[in-house]
Symmetry: C2
Subunit: 144 residues, 2 copies
């Protein structure tokens, strides 16, 4: 599993880059994961009044088993490392956010100051070089 983090200010275009990378990797046959940090808890991942929404308040874990998708809600604030344990069957995981996290290569989108970044993306013209880095890391067998 190769991990690449995309960091940057709010609305800097991290998700658009993530979409591009994940799509390009999938096209090439890689099994891909995506982890998004939602530090303010704004994400809405269940429908109000659904069966799972009714029962979930009393569980540690709740799952919905649909024909093509398994959805799991785990009532814990996980670290990135803990979250990545669920992705061990992926070739590459694109992580959006978690800019304070150490240990994984980081691409900076926009103007965020970041000394550690391996690449900085200013516009869509920079996307292919990020993909190239990812592909060469995957070929090189770098793993986390």
């Amino acid at each position: 599993m190769f991990v690449l983090q995309l960091v940057g200010y709010h609305d800097s275009g991290k998700t658009t880059l993530a979409e591009y990378l994940v799509r390009e990797l999938q096209k090439r046959g890689f099994v891909v994961g995506y982890v998004k940090h939602d530090p303010k808890g704004k994400g809405v991942t269940d429908k109000e009044g659904s069966d799972t929404a009714r029962v979930k308040p009393f569980t540690l874990k709740t799952a919905l088993v649909s024909p093509d998708t398994f959805t799991l809600w785990y009532k814990r604030g996980l670290s990135l490392k803990e979250a990545l344990k669920f992705f061990e069957d992926c070739d590459a995981v694109i992580v959006e956010g978690f800019k304070e996290e150490k240990g994984y290569p980081k691409v900076v989108v926009g103007d965020l100051p970041a000394d550690e970044a391996i690449l900085r993306v200013k516009s869509r013209r920079d996307y292919p070089k990020v993909l190239e880095f990812l592909l060469s890391s995957l070929e090189g067998g770098t793993r986390y």
Copy 2:
């Protein structure tokens, strides 16, 4: 991990029983899980246009890491057995649906014919006996 299945026709009250059981178990300090079968894929577990909804089509797994909840979408049609692997840290798991599944005790809600059922629930007055069965199974150490 003790597993109890609730089976019955659509709208027979399975979720209301699940809610009761999970709440009562949680009150008593048990760590509880809930698995709901969604055989027709009607469940909505992401918000249209969200970042995860945009990237998810190209991934095997996508996660949203919020302060108190970790949500995972896994693009596979899992069996109940595969789904339950995610619940190994729970004391008890209430499973709603999967009536064809073999191997776990089943409570029938309403009129569904089911020879295998250990209990049948016709109204709310029957709820405490289901809870009692669960508590004695948990005390007895029955595990799956």
